[in-house]
């Protein structure tokens, strides 16, 4: 039965997105249940695919029955099978959470919102599952266009931030498309596996060199790697809270997946390490991103903006792991993708909950928040631990693996930067926890309540449970990280590492 799953994982959310306006025709609230139902199905497909890949090896699906070099092939190996459940599970949890949050922030616009959310998930799934270079571009733009729409529905500054994102995103997609065109000129093929077999003799051709560079730059733009990150903080900060909780964990990570695909599957690893020194440049950009992102995060007053800069910094970790181009580094990058998906999902959901209850997310207004929202803030603390890298959260294991990757290749500067940026993480997150737990509220509350008389003002259960699930996910992926690395990630590492 699983042999149709690669197609169904795209077709189901796509058709569901198109049917959403019909479902929500009379009553917009129905769209929520429709989206939850669809995503539950998609989760089932994604986990089924992962199980099937672990048991029987990679799956190749021929779209319309056309054999690969000519037809479009959907190819699921360990790398895609690892990404698909991440996307599916995170989006399911965020969509379950989104009910009250979207009602309040986008009341009356549930129907278009859920349509766009499902379309975006279709696009993200498509980027991951397809084995065709041009198809990747199409899905990339499906995901990006729906993302623009979702972000633009946010508050005051959202449209301007979206417009900048559109411009940068389009440059990125066009660069990628141009790179694909160059490869098509020299190979006459668009199938990823086919092209990767045809180009090794041409590695020193200038066309292939420029193709590699163009694709890498395009993907870095979509991934928001420093110095191409400028669009990200505003776009993610002004988006409605459920939307940022959906795109922050997923979008940049899918772009990171694409980078791994291009660097290690489409080209042989030695193309980017020796023929053009891309990995050296990338790793320096990555460590700069880690530092700059963390410094900007310290300077922010709003928790949401701070987390957006933290996304920039964390992308640096992933890019560093990819650019190290060794076994420990790549496993660290992949674990960090998993870790970031749950961690950023968790903390952005918490931000959404805080905005839902208090109306804003300025850090100085967080006084007594631990008493008022104990469950939410508890989950936030677990998220912070993971971001800093305290065991047993997943962040510890991914950072450890990245550190090992740096040490193996004697990159002592990167080791130092990893440790310093961890300290910066501690600084900016503990400021939040300090304000929320230890500072007394000001007297102008009128009723300067004694510390133990503060009322508990938790968010509704449908928001609290997803937050707890994300926090549980952080702990579980941490506890089982060595199992995940042994059963899945070890097969992703290309030969010759």
């Amino acid at each position: 039965m699983t042999h149709q799953f690669p197609a169904l994982i795209i077709v189901v959310p796509l058709l569901a997105a198109l049917a959403t306006p019909l479902v929500g025709w009379k009553n917009g609230r129905l769209c929520y249940y429709w989206a939850v139902f669809t995503m539950a199905l998609v989760c089932f497909f994604a986990i089924g695919l992962l199980r099937s890949v672990i048991l029987n090896g990679p799956i190749s699906y021929h779209q319309g029955g056309w054999a690969p070099p000519w037809g479009i092939e959907y190819y699921v190996d360990y790398l895609n099978a690892f990404m698909l459940p991440i996307i599916a599970v995170i989006s399911l949890i965020v969509i379950i959470y989104s009910k009250h949050s979207i009602n309040r922030e986008l009341g009356g616009r549930q129907m278009p919102t859920y349509t766009l959310i499902l379309l975006m998930i279709t696009g993200l799934m498509g980027i991951v599952v397809t084995g065709d270079l041009f198809n990747v571009f199409v899905f990339l733009e499906i995901a990006s266009l729906s993302c623009y729409g979702l972000i633009a529905s946010g508050q005051d500054g959202a449209p301007l931030a979206t417009f900048r994102y559109i411009i940068m995103g389009t440059i990125g997609a066009s660069c990628y498309l141009l790179g694909v065109g160059y490869l098509y000129i020299v190979t006459g093929s668009l199938n990823l596996a086919d092209v990767s077999q045809l180009i090794p003799p041409l590695y020193h051709s200038r066309v292939v060199l420029s193709a590699g560079v163009l694709m890498l730059v395009g993907i870095s733009l979509k991934m928001a790697l420093f110095p191409l990150h400028t669009w990200l903080p505003n776009a993610y900060a002004y988006a409605p809270s459920s939307v940022s909780a959906l795109i922050a964990p997923l979008f940049t990570k899918v772009a990171a997946y694409l980078m791994i695909r291009v660097m290690f599957t489409l080209f042989r690893p030695d193309f980017f390490t020796t023929i053009i020194p891309a990995t050296t440049i990338l790793s320096w950009l990555a460590v700069t991103a880690m530092m700059i992102g963390s410094f900007y995060a310290i300077a922010q007053d709003s928790l949401k903006k701070m987390l957006c800069y933290s996304v920039v910094a964390q992308i640096g970790y992933i890019a560093l792991g990819i650019a190290l181009a060794n076994k420990a580094g790549l496993i660290g990058a992949l674990l960090h993708i998993l870790n970031e998906a749950f961690t950023k999902g968790c903390v952005f959901l918490v931000v959404g909950a805080i905005i839902y209850q208090t109306g804003d997310c300025t850090i100085d207004h967080f006084k007594n928040l631990f008493r008022r929202m104990p469950y939410t803030m508890g989950a936030f603390t677990i998220g912070v631990f993971s971001m800093i890298g305290i065991p047993p959260t997943c962040g510890f294991f991914s950072k450890l693996s990245l550190l090992m990757g740096c040490i193996v290749d004697h990159h002592w500067v990167f080791v130092a930067v990893l440790l310093i940026s961890t300290i910066l993480n501690v600084i900016y997150f503990f400021r939040v926890i300090k304000v929320a737990s230890f500072e007394e509220p000001e007297a102008d509350y009128g009723r300067k309540a004694p510390y133990d008389q503060v009322r508990m003002e938790e968010v509704p259960l449908s928001m609290r449970i997803p937050i707890m699930l994300m926090a549980a996910g952080i702990l579980l992926t941490g506890i089982f990280s060595s199992t995940i690395a042994k059963t899945i990630l070890i097969h992703i590492v290309p030969a010759g590492f």
């Binding site: 041009f134 571009f137 199409v138 733009e141 266009l145 623009y148 729409g149 633009a152 005051d156 500054g157 449209p159 301007l160 979206t162 417009f163 559109i166 411009i167 389009t170 440059i171 997609a173 066009s174 498309l177 141009l178 065109g181 098509y184 000129i185």
Partner: protein, 132 residues
């Protein structure tokens, strides 16, 4: 040198167009001009793709029989037919670029409703005043 320019003029053209688009996107302060720059940028890529499928001389399209002079047979040799694939790809890319332009225009309407202007400098000034 001239030979190089003339024989590959399609590539030169697409590079020039692309740079015009990039310049408009980065240097212009008016948001509509930026959007137009973006469109030129995308069109340059489309032009590049379309031009790589072109062959001159005794060639045909794949669905027509090849060779009016020496009998009728199907064009099997790659040198005998125009490659239609890049054109088909570009149909999709054109749809993508139109959709992007549509979304961007809708966003511009939102910006205009909020700020009553589309000049980036003025918008930033309004934002600053609101901030202080």
């Amino acid at each position: 040198m001239l030979e190089l320019l003339l024989s590959k003029y399609n590539y030169w053209l697409y590079v020039i167009l692309m740079m015009i688009g990039l310049y408009a996107m980065l240097a212009k302060r008016n948001l509509v001009k930026k959007l137009i720059g973006m469109n030129i940028f995308q069109t340059a890529v489309i032009l590049f793709y379309v031009s790589i499928g072109v062959k001159t001389g005794d060639v045909t399209v794949p669905i027509l029989p090849y060779g009016h002079h020496h009998g009728h047979e199907q064009a099997i040799n790659v040198a005998h037919y125009l490659n239609p694939l890049p054109h088909v790809l570009m149909l999709t890319a054109i749809v993508v670029s139109i959709a992007t332009a549509g979304v961007a225009l809708a966003v511009l309407i939102l910006i205009y409703r909020r700020y009553r202007t589309l000049e980036e400098d003025e918008i930033l000034k309004i934002n600053q005043e609101a901030g202080t």
